[in-house]
């Protein structure tokens, strides 16, 4: 196989590292299964909340919403991430992983964790079981999920920790053989991202393992919702960069080659990843601008850090576009804007990634609005926010992943993509669908339409649109959601049909060298211990005082807070009764407290 491939073209990743290619394939397939299921739930939601087609009772809306959120932003994104990171590490170090059985072990943990969480969530559709997890992606207490959900999440995260350790092991083994060399760029990106992940997951690990899991098992009577929320967002913001970093890796290292050019600057790419390691975590409180119990000053610090975080994204916009322009000019493009025509627009991998980048620029704008404390109040908890993150994770990340799959899949399977024209139509359809859906969401958000609501249609009250009409926007949202669903079907079936393509050799795609190589940058950029240390200091500075004040004000656990096993109590009729007795006991306590 190997010699045959060498004769006919560049050997593919699968030719060179068949065992690692199998892990990459398994990770990508897991990711696409999650994408497909997530898309089904996405379509149900889009049609339900716009009142175009409702076939489920609205009480199941939150089961659907939780499934959509968790499958898309935990399973789809992170399974794809470990696939790409495994490929990138092995490819750039040009050596196999240390022990493939260990690699399969972390993949197995991630798969088991996902299955546990998905079973808990889907249990919500069967009221006769006591299994449910209608807690949405953010799993805010006092909403309570079945222990399977928290346990699954914990096991999944342990799997990702072990995956990170696998990449560090491979790098360490490589370093013994190459003591004086700079870390290869893709491995550098993988390692800095995983360091960021180790810091970020401290928050969610404490929230889940110390509080929520014991609480759902009945070992803890109550939790402090503000504390677990804050710990959630300690992880909840950096996780968005965890989704984004594999897309950045692909934009920096694959997109220039597909464009026919070379990465503009390797050092600039390293600086960007270091900045993300430093700044991703000490910003989580910007998701809590309207949370009472956190002083405005702490929110102000989070806002300042967030604005600094725009810097690496703007650096990326420059470097990635400059690399594409280099490709276009090498392909004969000229003029101030005319070079855009020389880009390989017929290549689905290029077009998908370029359109994803374009949408990310729009997402950058709505992100700035979210991040600003004053105008955040205007859009907080409105459907503007889902509009924003469907541009970022829903397009910049998701569309880049799908487009990159058209480039990567043949290299890990030795089989070409079933249909390139369908692939091209698919990425364009995603862009069009998202432009409609996200635009409608942003505009409706400005008119006050809430997010996370099954039936945002009220008696005796109508939302007023300053231009157009709310009905028109609802139709736009439903149409966009439907196109996105169709695009997902085209993607998944194209990949599925590719398994029937004839096996070929020489499908490898070499990556071009950067114009400005790593040697142009100071060696300190590769000092991962230093950057990890500074990142930890920044996190401590940003979080120690807010966490201390939350714990001082309302305790490690808050005995006044009762769990809400969604729907189960209401179905039994116990909800109102317990609410009344709870309120009565609080009134008595207050009276006793006041009367001397």
């Amino acid at each position: 196989m190997m010699s045959e491939a060498l004769e006919t073209g560049t050997p593919s990743f699968m030719d060179r590292f068949p065992q690692e290619a199998a892990v990459v394939r398994a990770s990508l397939i897991s990711s696409f299964i999650a994408l497909f299921l997530g898309a089904v739930f996405g379509l149900i939601q889009a049609l339900h909340r716009t009142d175009v087609f409702r076939f489920l009772d609205s009480q199941y809306y939150y089961t659907v919403l939780t499934a959509h959120g968790v499958l898309m932003v935990v399973s789809f994104t992170i399974f794809f991430l470990v696939g790409v990171f495994t490929w990138a590490t092995v490819r750039s170090l040009d050596r196999p992983l240390v022990d493939i059985r260990y690699t399969w072990a972390w993949y197995g943990l991630m798969a088991i964790g996902t299955l546990m969480a998905v079973v808990a969530i889907l249990g919500g559709f069967i009221p006769s079981t006591d299994i449910s997890a209608d807690v949405l992606f953010t799993f805010y207490a006092p909403m309570q999920a079945h222990p399977l959900f928290y346990g699954g999440l914990a096991i999944f995260i342990i799997g990702t920790w072990l995956a990170g350790a696998d990449y560090f092991r491979a790098w360490y083994a490589w370093k013994q053989e190459h003591p004086d060399e700079r870390i290869p760029l893709q491995t550098f990106m993988v390692l800095t991202t995983m360091l960021m992940w180790y810091i970020a997951t401290i928050g969610v690990a404490i929230a889940v393992v110390v509080f929520l899991l014991p609480w759902s098992l009945g070992l803890l009577d109550s939790v402090n919702p503000l504390l677990t929320r804050t710990l959630f967002w300690f992880w909840g913001h950096p996780v968005v960069y965890f989704w984004l970093m594999p897309a950045y890796l692909l934009w920096y290292t694959v997109l220039p080659s597909i464009s026919g050019g070379r990465l503009f600057s390797d050092p600039l790419a390293r600086v960007v990843f270091v900045l993300f390691l430093l700044l991703s975590t000490p910003v989580g409180i910007h998701h809590q601008y309207v949370d009472p119990g956190i002083a405005e000053g702490f929110k102000m610090i989070a806002m300042t850090n967030t604005m600094f975080l725009l810097l690496p994204s703007l650096l990326t916009a420059f470097t990635v576009v400059a690399s594409m322009e280099h490709g276009a000019r090498q392909r004969g493009g000229t003029g101030l804007f005319g070079w855009l025509r020389a880009l390989p627009w017929r290549n689905p991998a290029f077009t998908g990634m370029a359109l994803a980048g374009l949408m990310f620029a729009a997402g950058g704008f709505s992100g700035m609005v979210n991040a600003g404390m004053n105008i955040n109040y205007l859009v907080h908890n409105t459907i503007w926010v889902p509009g924003h993150f469907h541009l970022t994770v829903g397009t910049a990340v998701a569309l880049t992943f799908m487009a990159a799959t058209y480039w990567l899949w043949p290299q890990v399977t030795n089989k070409p993509i079933f249909s390139r024209p369908i692939a091209l139509a698919q990425v364009v359809l995603w862009f069009v669908g998202m432009a409609l859906m996200s635009n409608a969401m942003h505009v409706m958000g400005l008119f006050g339409v809430p997010r996370r609501t099954a039936e945002p249609q009220y008696q005796g009250f109508d939302f007023v649109a300053s231009f157009g009409s709310i009905t028109e926007l609802r139709m736009q949202l439903a149409l966009g959601g439907t196109l996105l669903f169709l695009s997902t079907i085209l993607f998944v079936s194209n990949i599925a049909l590719s398994t029937g393509s004839p096996r070929m050799s020489g499908l490898g795609k070499p990556l071009s060298e950067p114009l400005s190589p790593a040697a142009d940058s100071p060696k300190v950029l590769d000092n991962l211990t230093l950057w990890f240390g500074i990142a930890m200091v920044l996190v401590v500075l940003a979080y120690i005082l807010p966490l201390a004040s939350i714990i001082t004000d309302s305790g490690i656990v808050d005995p006044g807070v009762r769990p809400v096993p969604m729907l189960v109590d209401a179905a039994n009729g116990l909800g109102p009764i317990s609410a009344v007795t709870d309120a009565a006991s609080r009134v008595v306590a207050a009276v006793v407290g006041v009367v001397p």
Partner: protein
């Protein structure tokens, strides 16, 4: 794919990404205009505050 269609090699020193600068300039202008637009959206339906 696209990699094969390179008609001329452009090295580090001869490459000046002025098209990128132009595109980013356009993006900043859009950001600025939208930022101003946001101000009016925030006050749309309300009277503008005149001190």
């Amino acid at each position: 794919m696209g990699e094969e269609q390179v008609v001329r090699e452009i090295g580090h020193d001869e490459y000046d990404p002025k098209g990128t600068l132009a595109l980013i300039g356009v993006y900043f202008v859009i950001l600025l205009v939208m930022w101003v637009f946001m101000y009016f959206v925030e006050f749309l339906g309300n009277e503008l505050t005149v001190v």
